[in-house]
Amino acid sequence: MVAARLDRKSVSGLRALLATMNVAPGRVDAANPLVPFGKLENLHFARFVILDDPTLDAIRLYGLPRQEYPLYLAFTCDFDGAKPAFLADLAHCAGPGLRRVFSFCEDFPDGADLLQWMRDHDLPVAANYVNWRGRTMKQVREEARLRQAIDSYLDLNASALEGRTAEQVRAQVRAFVDAEIAAGRLTLTPPVPAPLGERIGNAFHLIGGALLIGVLIWGALPLLLIIRLRENTEPVYAPRPDPAQARALAEIEDYEFTNQFSAVGSWKPGLVRRWMVRFILLVIDWTVRHWPFTKGLLARVLTIQCARWVYLDNSKRVFFATSYDGSLDSYNDDFINKVAFGLNVVFANGIGYPATRWLLQGGAKDEQKFKYFLRRHQLPTEVWYNAHPSMAAVELERNSRIRQGLEAAALSDEAAREWVQLL
């Protein structure tokens, strides 16, 4: 994530410039001349957000003075492949536009080396979830076309397929798909294995991370005890969101099935909470990178396309950004009812969060307060690009499973029946 300081005086000008990338508030023009996102074939999601925290006064609940933090412009991208190659691509496609955008930042000198500047302002991501690790945009597009072709084939040949066994149906569909591929109407590019260097790095991260977590957990347990002792008395501050803020946020939501969410907030004062968060985000980052949350699920939730946490200002604050399926309320309900503990372990370390017990229980189960808390921390996403705006994460998964079943050499009768049910 690129984050660079902004002078408050330049915010309105920057907002106006960013707005030119949209056809209407909340609806990006993928071909806009500033950053033509649609030209970047490996890009899944991108966003520009101005990190102007509306909740900085909350620290007064602890009898502490309000602390001023810098304003930032944040620019995030979710893409396939290696970062250097993507950044080079980005600079090539959108160099002048990005220069115009970044020129609003405090330290973007005229004639700066754009690539170097973005690298210098790249903040490390504390935890990064993607719905299906390794699924490229190319794969998404090819599998969507495959699914559509199979759909029409089934509709046109409904009577011919009548009474066939599952395996016979699969064979017929495969013959059709093979013919389409031969005729150049469909492409199914075989998955490219990650480069050796990346695989080695991943293996190190897998082992090193596991060892680190194994050691740190012994430090986290006493922290948890301290937190438990404080949980009953820490101030909860979750009044209703300001109607104007709520209205402005709602205005840019629900144009498509997938929505964006960007938020910023401060951790509770003191080192205990900050250390706890560091440990928990370390665990989350490991589980979503290696096991078990790499294919479609984050715990029980299937509606997150991507999510990331980035520390700001010496990890006193955090920026959270996600692209999720459904409306904000249905997404919240899904989370609260399925995995409230997962929300609690992270966000309960934020100032004002509804009271938890042992960091796991309670919290988000105070449904209305939790929703108010979240909305109050939310920031308008000035520009949000989604390369597959009308496709839910489960739809992408379904397309992938159809392809997998189609390409499998042989399936058991049961598996073949399940595959036919997917169609």
Binding site: R240, R247, E256, A299, G326, D329, P389, R401, Q421
Partner: protein, 501 residues
């Protein structure tokens, strides 16, 4: 001090009764002409309570206000601010809400007959009466200072279609239950499906399914005008202006009966049986109300063991081969619990919570229907038409019949709007794509241009059947969010505000 039972004499009757014996009904959509006269009416209006009566009443009157109406009554700003944001903004008040509810295109508020921002009602007075008694009752109600207080902007008439909606299906079969005489504890996690829901889901001032009190307007106990209001159970030194009240969602839904059966005939050919069968797949019930899903062997709390129309879940139909995933009743209430696999041990529960129990994307795509239940109280309207189901050849049905959909809930966003948005209108419900509710869908294409006018019927051991090109069968013609106050709150409204301004 939490209550042990509901104060039925302070609750308006509609929260408890469908008033089935009072087969005649009309809804008067009103604007306040004169604040003082309207307040005087609120002070004495003979509103029927939820107390059981023997013999049952011959007539009943109910009243509910929009936010604009409460403003017009002159409620103090502190009280007004206590109502939910969605009630304050209104059903048609924000473009975002209209997008979520599917109120776009033909359903857009700009095209509504009532509500929708132009000349919105301030209140609705609902009149119910035994056969032959409505006209007289209406005249009595509208006597005296009525005309000084209110301007009638529209009268919505209803028709007694003997428990069927205009397409010909038995309707209003499934309703959640809550206990009027006891406050059973709320389960922190629900393992088996139940039809029994916390009272706080349907009445403000009581504990909801989360074990919490839904936000509502509270008043300082020191305010003498509020002296008669019930105490707020959860906040000391506050009176509860929301208690025993609830939100009433009202939508006028026009049904294209002829278009519906014509389309089905086009799909199935001349066989009326096949036509009816396809319609039943779309609904998820037979025209007589029998569910396509298998009846449950075990007892479902809150459902009569002898109730063969309602005693079912979709557990035994994981592939949707009995009742399609997209069928109307499956979308409207998927009847699931907090966990997909009914874990009994705490270890199994943790296992499930971490996502290890999910097999494929469909086992756990939705959960916890208990937070999304509504009490339905709608009535049909049918201008000049007597329908018998299912009508194969109908007279030209212009003006078309429809349903004045009414439902009650304590949290409009989490209940009515969720059901409407995440389930009924969703083009991605339960892993589907390319379709929304077969009856209610607005068929608006999604962003990448793909159509949503399909209906998928999974088939046992075979390729799904896909029906394409469904027209829009139901159009929204009006709607608003109302607050249906408790009776003491209604009296409080008559004196709460500033003097006539």
């Amino acid at each position: 001090m939490p209550s042990t039972s509901i104060d039925a004499k302070d609750v308006q009757g509609l929260a408890r009764f469908g008033y089935k014996l009072l087969t005649e009904a009309c809804y008067l959509l009103l604007r306040i002409r004169d604040r003082a006269a309207a307040r005087a009416w609120c002070a004495v209006a003979p509103v029927a309570s939820a107390e059981l009566q023997d013999p049952p009443p011959v007539v009943a009157m109910q009243v509910a206000f929009t936010y604009a109406g409460l403003e017009e009554l002159g409620l103090p700003s502190g009280v007004l601010a206590g109502f939910s944001a969605e009630f304050q903004n209104g059903m048609a008040g924000e473009a975002n809400r209209s997008r979520r509810l599917g109120d776009v295109g033909e359903n857009a508020p700009g095209k509504w007959w009532w509500g929708g921002g132009e000349n919105d009602p301030h209140l609705v007075v609902m009149l119910f009466a035994m056969p032959g008694k409505l006209e007289e009752f209406r005249r009595t109600v509208q006597a005296g200072d009525w005309d000084a207080a209110f301007e009638l902007i529209q009268r919505l008439d209803t028709a007694d279609m003997r428990g069927r909606e205009p397409f010909g299906f038995k309707d209003g079969i499934s309703q959640p239950e809550f206990d009027w005489n006891a406050m059973p504890g709320v389960e922190s996690s629900q393992i088996t499906y139940t039809n029994q829901v916390a009272a706080g889901e349907f009445l403000l001032g009581y504990v909801n399914e989360y074990g919490k009190y839904t936000d509502r307007p509270l008043v300082d106990s020191t305010d003498r005008r509020a002296a008669d209001l019930p105490d707020a159970e959860d906040v000391p030194a506050k009176k509860d202006a929301g208690r025993n009240g609830t939100y009433l969602v009202m939508r006028t839904l026009e049904q294209d009966v002829q278009g519906f059966w014509k389309f089905l005939a086009g799909q199935t050919g001349p066989d009326p049986g096949a036509r009816e069968q396809l319609a039943e797949r779309m609904v998820g019930r037979t025209t007589e109300g029998q569910p396509l899903a298998q009846l449950s062997a075990g007892r479902i709390p809150g459902i009569d063991p002898k109730d063969d129309l309602n005693r079912f879940t979709f557990d035994q139909d994981p592939d949707g081969t009995r009742c399609p995933f997209g069928a109307h009743i499956r979308r409207a209430n998927p009847r699931n619990t907090d966990y997909p696999n009914r874990p009994t041990s705490w270890l199994a529960r943790i296992w499930t919570q971490l996502g290890f129990a999910s097999k494929g994307f469909r086992t756990d795509i939705m959960a916890s229907t208990r937070f999304h239940r509504i009490l339905r109280r709608g009535r049909e309207y049918a201008p000049g038409l007597a329908l018998s189901p299912p009508a194969p050849s109908l007279p030209a049905d212009d003006p078309k019949p429809g349903l004045h959909f009414l439902c009650l809930n304590a949290n409009i966003v989490r209940q009515f709007e969720f059901v409407q948005n995440a389930w009924l209108m969703s083009t991605k419900f339960d892993g589907l794509c390319g379709e929304s509710d077969p009856l209610l869908g607005n068929r608006a294409p999604i962003g990448d241009g793909r159509s949503t006018d399909n209906f998928t019927i999974p088939r046992q051991g075979g390729v799904r059947r896909s029906i394409a090109g469904l027209p829009q069968f139901i159009s929204v013609r009006g709607g608003a969010y109302f607050f249906m106050p408790g009776i003491r709150a209604l009296r409080y409204f008559s004196r709460a505000g500033e003097s006539n301004g």
